[in-house]
C-alpha cells in the first residue's frame, strides 16, 4: 500500500514524530477503512489484532454484562483504541461501534509492538497516548462514583458549553440516549435531570441547549479540574 494514502495518518500525534523507517514499517500492514454508522468494529473478549485510530467520525466504546450495556467512552478523531490490549497482547476489554459514518485506521498489533521495541520516539508516543487514556478512565470513574446523576449532567453541560465557546448555547453532539448511558443513567432519568437543571437556567430544545445563567449552573455543578479537564 503506497505511503501517500497515509498522509493524514502521518500527521496524527501518535505518528508525527517517528522516523520514516518506523512509519513505513507501521503502515506496511495497515488499512484505512470507511464504515457506515452503527457498525460494530470490535467485540470485547476478542484478541487485540489491530490498533485502531479514529480518522473521522464518532466511535463509541461500550461494554456489556448480563443484559446490560454501558457507554464507556465517546471517541472523536484522533482517538485510539484499544491500545492497552494491543500492548499487553490480551483480549479487548471493550467493544467498539461507529455512531456516524467513520474512517478508521487499523494497524496490526504485532507491528506496533515491533516498532515500539526499536523506536524510543514511538515508544514515548505510545506511552503518552496510554497515559492520556488511563487518566481519562480514572476521571470517568471519579465522576461516576463521586457525583449524582444530576451533578454529572450539570458538569457535562458546563464543560461542553465552554468547549463550544461559552456563548450561551451549544448543540449536543451525541444522541441523548447515548449521553445517558455515558453518564451512567437511563434515558428517562436524563430527561428528568435536564428538567431539574431548569432551576439553574438550562433550557433544552431538541439537541440545542440554552443557558440563561451560566454562572448559576456552574455554581451548582462545581466543576473540578481533576475530574473534568
Amino acid at each position: 500500500m503506497p505511503l501517500e494514502r497515509f498522509e493524514e495518518v502521518r500527521a496524527l500525534p501518535l505518528f508525527s514524530e517517528i522516523s520514516e523507517a518506523s512509519f513505513s514499517a507501521l503502515m506496511r500492514g495497515a488499512y484505512v477503512q470507511n464504515f457506515p454508522p452503527h457498525t460494530e468494529l470490535v467485540t470485547e473478549g476478542d484478541p487485540a489484532d489491530f490498533l485502531h485510530v479514529v480518522a473521522s467520525g464518532w466511535v463509541e466504546l461500550f461494554s456489556s454484562w448480563s443484559d446490560r450495556e454501558t457507554c464507556m467512552t465517546l471517541l472523536r478523531p484522533y482517538g485510539t483504541f484499544i491500545l492497552a490490549a494491543t500492548i499487553k497482547d490480551r483480549p479487548y476489554l471493550l467493544s467498539a461501534r461507529t455512531l456516524t459514518k467513520s474512517r478508521i485506521i487499523m494497524i496490526p498489533s504485532e507491528d506496533i509492538r515491533d516498532v515500539f521495541d526499536g523506536d524510543s520516539v514511538f515508544a514515548k508516543s505510545i506511552v503518552r497516548e496510554l497515559a492520556i487514556s488511563y487518566r481519562e478512565s480514572i476521571r470517568h470513574t471519579k465522576n461516576i462514583k463521586l457525583r449524582t446523576s444530576v451533578e454529572r449532567l450539570a458538569n457535562y453541560v458546563v464543560k461542553h458549553h465552554a468547549h463550544a465557546g461559552g456563548g450561551g448555547s451549544f448543540t449536543l453532539d451525541v444522541e441523548k440516549k447515548k449521553l445517558a448511558s455515558f453518564l451512567g443513567m437511563t434515558p428517562e432519568n436524563l430527561s428528568r435531570a435536564f428538567a431539574a437543571l431548569k432551576n439553574h437556567g438550562v433550557e433544552v430544545s431538541g439537541s440545542t441547549i440554552l443557558l440563561s445563567d451560566p454562572a448559576d449552573l456552574e455554581a451548582f455543578a462545581r466543576p473540578y479540574f481533576l475530574i473534568d479537564d
Copy 2:
C-alpha cells in the same frame, strides 16, 4: 545511597530486566521509606514528583469531591502509583494513604522519564505496568456501571474466595468500611448486601467469610473474566 539497599527493588517486575546502568541511574535519587498506618502519601492535584512503588503493606488510592470520598484502588506489593502522572508530568489524579504500616519506594519522576528515553527495556516495562493499571481501571468502571451493589459484593466474595484457595472460607483483608467505598456503596449498605447474600450461603463473622454453597453464590454472581480476572 548504596545499591545494596535496593536489592528488593531490583527484583520487582518493573526493574528486574533493565540494565545495571539504568538501574543505578534510577536508584541514585530514590528513597525507600517506612510509613505508619493512615499516612497520606500524596494528595490529588500535587505535582507528580515521584513514582511510588509499594514494597510492603497496603496502600489506598482514593479521591475526593465536595465532601465525598471514594476508594479507587487497593494496592499491595508490588503495585505502583501513580505512573501516568509521572509519565505525563501532570498532577496526580488520586490521593494515596497507607492503610497499614508500609514500605514505599520513591523514585524521582525526572529520572523515570530520562531512563525511559534511553532504555527500551525499561520503556517496555513501564508500558506494561501502565497498560495493566489502565485495564484495571476499566474493569473497575465496568463493575460499577454494570452491576448493582449486591452483585459487586457477590463477585468480590467469589473472587477472593477463589484467591484464598476456595476452601469454603476466607478473611477480608481490608476494613469493611474501606471495602464498601471501593465497591461504591455506604458501610450500611454493605452490611445489608452481606445480609442479602445469606440466601446464597454467605455467612459473615467479623472479617471471616464462610461460604456454605460456593456454587450457588457463583451462579448468582455470574463472574465474568472481562471484569473480574
